[in-house]
Amino acid sequence: MWDLILNPFITVLTLLYSVFGNSAVVAIVLFTIAVRVIMYPLSAQQMRSSKIMQELQPEMKRLQDKYKNDREKLAQEQMRLYREKGVNPLGGCLPLLIQFPIWIGLYQAINHALAATPLQLIDLSGRFLVSGLDQLVPLNNVWIGMDLTQAPTANPSYALVLPALVLVTTYVQSKMITPPQQQPTDGQPSQAQAMTQSMTTVMPIMMGMFSLSFSVGLSIYFIVSNLVSIFQYAWNGQAKWENVFSFLPKKSAAGAPVISGKRTLKAQLEAEKSAAAKVGFSSVTADDVEEVVESVPVSKSDAEDKEPPKSRGPKTKTKTKSAK
């Protein structure tokens, strides 16, 4: 079953190798780009679905809050919301599930084609779907002085640039697709958000570490794959560059500025107070504002916080509704 993916991949990879001057690196780069481009419709669907789900988050939070004691009703209302918006909650998972074996196949094909060990080479037999390609085996695995089948640590020192690039590109990729921090309605810290934040830091380091042990050829695959992914998100308008470059103003899911210091916290509290007063609901007092602000520990970012970031979008629906 697995061979249905692996064998064509190995064949195409070797074909590219033979067409482009017996260069394994060119073959890996082109093949990775080609596979990611072919899978773009699936990626785009996943990105679209993810975006819609993000946009629905405030409404979902409101429903969760409203029906927190009635799970059945909550499920009904959620399904109603999905129907109204024409969203399939699993719409983002299916493309991902389809893509996953392809990515694994791509990874395995590169690993097999480079055939670093006798067991890997013996496993290549019978995998070529085009006659004559097996005469090219084993592929030329040296690129600018590096053995593609060996780990960067077993290559010249400049090969260590590759794990660093894997780390950087993975970091950029994971940061730019991380959804903005949602404001919880139940007063509890969001475990999912904390996990996401941790993963965006841990994953790049983990990939960098793996790349130190994996072959140089696989590092090239990781880098190209990350770059293509970054390009695709940017092309789709979903790249959150403000997550990567801190000097860019941050936005929440619905475009509201994210609170990062005492001054902005104070500003938000004042805004809440003002909004509440407009609808005749004034339980937030000036003392409350001062009390809350003073209770927040002073951080380095507070000291540097000269003024609250400019809002680039309208206030969130959540905020308006909570004031009502």
């Binding site: 939070k61 809050d65 060990t117 006798p118 067991l119 080479l121 013996i122 037999s125 019978g126 097996d134 005469q135 085996v137 084993p138 030329n140 053995d147 060996q150 077993a154 921090q181 404001q183 919880p184 309605t185 139940d186 007063g187 509890q188 810290p189 969001s190 958000q193 904390a194 934040q197 941790s198 830091t201 841990v202 380091i205 983990m206 570490m209 793996f210 130190l212 042990s213 994996f214 609170i259 916290l265 938000q268 509290l269 809440e272 339980s283 937030v284 007092t285 409350d288 009390e291 809350v292 209770s295 927040v296 520990p297 951080s299 959540t318 905020k319 909570s322 004031a323």
Partner: protein
């Protein structure tokens, strides 16, 4: 005081920052630990096995020598138990403080310090020694009577890094080693200094053939090389149109070798192809030549018998006999040919026509093991100074849990199993 969810969230996220950072630090520490351990190169290659004879005073004994992963062990071919260490003074079995017999076992530490090439046996001052090379190219001299390395870390080859899976070759003065980093090096047998190095265009994974002062080297770069063993000078090279992973076999003044070009070649000692035979798939292993008939298997699972006296004409062929690759050299004994395959099976064939030998229940005589078989089969005979009544075949798998099994050659009766302890 009533606070909106936005405000509460910001307050609580500040409080949970410390927890998040702790989780992050723990995760990082675990990853660093994992990275430090590094990936063990398990699944790199297959066990190297051979039959050896060692002597203690006037006593000669036969053992199976196996090198696989971090171990080199000796096994008694009669019962499949670890060979008991003998005291070099009185040749009596040695035992530990509890009276348990000590078995011959050599182990190295470190993930990369693993063995896939066969150690060579030699003598120093009349005492048996072994020379072994690990996957990461560390050379170990091992005292046969007390299996400890003379240097715990082994000796590296000057100026060379990379891996080695090829078996070693040794003569009176030199050690010849094929390296994955394209070279074959000749080392001084005493100092391990590099005497000469010959560079091919790709890795050398097979044991070079040394004959009459010439070293025949197979390379993954598709060429067979003849090199002067004394100087390392090239005598000739021959393109075999596909990766070459087999050691050539010399028979009646001709070399017989196969390649990934799906061919078996007959090559003159002057470096010219005199005959060839097309196979169905890549051929990895070396042939077995008995009575002028060459027996070989391919990675598609087919087996061939070719007449070397008649231009490699086909005597018989068993297409797709096995469901997996046949890497191991077929074992030929009297009227039968035994073939081991990656489908975990050993097949008994009639030597005359390649038909399956039928067992007492009327079915083809086949034995199945729990793991892939890629190592060469070993023939154990009573005349090899082994206390057995009839010949055995010893099959070696990739599984350390059932590393070796011995069967009678006659009817495939299982005599013993051996697992790494």
């Amino acid at each position: 005081m009533i606070l909106s969810p936005n405000v509460r969230s910001n307050l609580l996220s500040n409080r949970s920052l410390l927890t998040r950072r702790t989780v992050l630090l723990v995760a990082l520490a675990l990853m660093l630990l994992a990275a430090a351990c590094g990936p063990a190169p398990l699944g790199t290659s297959w066990p190297a096995v051979s039959l050896i004879q060692t002597s203690c005073n006037d006593q000669t004994s036969t053992s199976i020598l196996v090198a696989y992963n971090e171990f080199i062990v000796q096994v008694n071919p009669a019962d499949g138990k670890g060979t008991v260490l003998l005291d070099p003074q009185d040749c009596q079995p040695r035992s530990d403080e509890n009276g348990n017999p000590l078995v011959w076992q050599y182990k190295v530490d470190g993930a990369a310090r693993q063995f896939f090439s066969l150690p060579v046996q030699y003598q120093v001052d009349g005492k048996d020694q072994f020379l072994a090379i690990s996957w990461d190219q560390h050379i170990y001299e091992i005292n046969a009577s007390a299996p400890r390395s003379t240097g715990a870390e082994g000796t590296t080859i000057a100026g060379r890094t990379g891996h080695t899976v090829a078996d070693l070759v040794m003569d009176d003065q030199r050690i010849y080693i094929g390296l994955n980093s394209k070279d074959v090096v000749a080392l001084d047998r005493d100092t391990f200094d590099v005497v000469w190095a010959f560079t091919t265009e790709h890795g050398v994974w097979s044991k070079p053939l040394l004959d009459n002062g010439t070293l025949y080297i197979s390379s993954l770069d598709h060429f067979l090389y003849a090199v002067d063993a004394a100087s390392g000078d090239l005598q000739w090279k021959l393109d075999l149109n596909g990766a070459v992973t087999a050691t050539p076999v010399l028979h009646n003044g001709r070399l017989y070798i196969s390649s990934f070009a799906r061919k078996v070649f007959e090559v003159s000692l002057a470096g010219e192809i005199t005959k060839d035979y097309a196979t169905d798939d890549w051929v990895w292993g070396s042939p077995s030549i008995v009575g002028d008939i060459l027996y070989i298997g391919d990675l598609g699972g087919s087996v061939y018998a070719l007449d070397t006296t008649n231009g490699l004409s086909e005597v018989w062929k068993r297409s797709k006999l096995a469901a997996g690759a046949i890497r191991a050299t077929p074992l030929v004994y009297e009227d039968r040919v035994l073939v081991a395959a990656r489908d975990q099976k050993v097949y008994w064939l009639n030597r005359d026509d390649g038909s399956s030998i039928i067992d007492s229940e009327g079915a083809p005589l086949v034995r199945e093991l729990p793991a892939q078989i890629l190592s060469d089969l070993l023939l154990i005979r009573p005349e090899d100074q082994v206390d057995i009544a009839e010949p055995y075949v010893v099959v070696t798998t990739l599984s350390t849990g059932q590393l070796m099994a011995a069967y009678t050659l006659d009817n495939g009766e299982n005599k013993w199993l051996y697992a790494f302890q």
